[in-house]
Amino acid sequence: MDRKTEENQFSQNDTILSSALKQKMDYLNDLNESITKGDDLKIYELIDPNRYATEANGETLSEAKPDHFSLAADLNAQLSHHLSNKLIDYLGKTYPFFYYHEYELGKFHIYFGNWWDHRMFGDLDPINVRFNFSEEEYQILAKSFQLELENSRVNDAEMRQLGEENEKLTQLIEDQDKRDRRKEEIRKQLKENEEKSPMPWEAGKVKEEHQQLSDALLELTNIDEQASNSRPKIKANENKILALSKEETILNLEKQNIRASFGSFDAFNENNRNLYAKYIQNLAEESQVSDGE
């Protein structure tokens, strides 16, 4: 076989190669043009044509559309930054309780609310139009919604336990006088006991009484020590209770805000799942409106 036949076994020719390259160039041109024109709708189509067709437009594809996004994938951060503008405007209306901070080009932290000590709730992904909630923060909120149905709160048990402990410790401090009086009594009894000169057959009983009194005295002094150490403990518990009530206050505000915008936690989650489709539809409607003008 000569070399020529070997090269042609895949029916490769320059026309095909050229057309493939042209497609890529067209893709980048389209992307560039959409960016200059501010046509975010088109950008989303170019980023993921298959998701765009199925999720946003409800098409059923018999075969996958050509996807050239890998050509621009290294510009992810820049694209994300560009797309965030309109997306955050949209989210400002639909999720008025979320706030975003671009901590790195194209990367956004989500904050829940703008109240004191609001929680960092995860990241916003403008390219994929998706909230990436922090698993831990999200789970606490989900739990709070769940417990609410049972008339309970996330930190109830711990707060109750700390409160009870503080009550006990306060009681220990308050009972100091009572213990002092009791110790005085015991000391007197001990003295009486020690002054006895018992008959030999009573000696065992007197000794036993002495032991009992000494034990009782020791126990009371042990409690005294606990009481004298309890003030810092009470303060520490109060601080813990404060931190827990703060968390509950924040969860309450989050729940209130979700209800005000979505009615329920389920509806909120449902909306998050359909965020891509809803946003693309919104962009489509807006572009129609502006076309009509």
Binding site: W115, W116, D117, T249
Partner: protein, 309 residues
Amino acid sequence: MSKETEKKVLTTNELLNHYSDSIKNGLNNGTKYVDAFNRLNNTSDKNDLLAAAVELTNYQLNSDFVVFPHQFSDADVQLVFLERILSLSGSKGLTIINAEHVQKLLCKFASLSDNTFTFTKSSKNPTGFFFGPTDYNRPLFYLNLKTKELMFHGSALIDYFVVDLEGTTVSDSKAALEVLLKVAEILKESFGFKIDFNVLDGVNGEFYEFAAGEIPEAIMDELFVKSADNKFILMADQNGGASLTLNDGTQLKVYNSGNSDRPKWGAAIYDADQKESWLYLLLDYPFIQEWYLDNKKQLEILSNQFVFG
């Protein structure tokens, strides 16, 4: 022998003249005093009233030859001045209650039933006086008619009106405070006194500086939780500060007016009428009052250390 006795030997006639001159001088001095005292008590001219009070303060009435057994103290003069300057401006919010005998004068506020107040002399400034409740050694303000200064003492005002007068209605407490504010206003407008309103300053944005400088986050957390319990939401503000919108759009801001190396935390209040001061805020919002008292060590508002210290 001293030179004087050598030089000058007085005759009997001279000695007796000297004696009668001394009495005359003493009596003239007394007449001058009476004149000033009458002006203090009767004049209807504000400037004349102030001049009389300044003249009578530290007045050396007794002399070697003439002694007046019944005298009002310098502190009493300040109180008479206070009552008169108010009445010349049409205010009857404060009255002297025991003028029947020459003694330490006390006064009462119309709205504060039996609580009496009086002036005491400053040990540092000969013309400075502290005004405070008779039963507590706590100056509510410092008054110096000569140097034209009036300074309110923030934490003492809070201790008295918020803690000691607990149970008094807010409107009664405010009525008494309005009298004090009226005094300050008259002194400022009529004579150009320098006034430090401290916790009574209602001007928007007045910075009430906390004693601690740095405020631990737990204290802010407590305000957040207490606010939420009262249906107010403490919002995060710039530079780690916080803001709280209260009734009628009144806004409280708590922030660091220094920097991270030298923190200077404090509060400012904004309201449409520019009437809400730190003290009024504590009276108006029991949960803020509770927060302040729980953390008084850190949140105490500083007053002039030199005058009151």
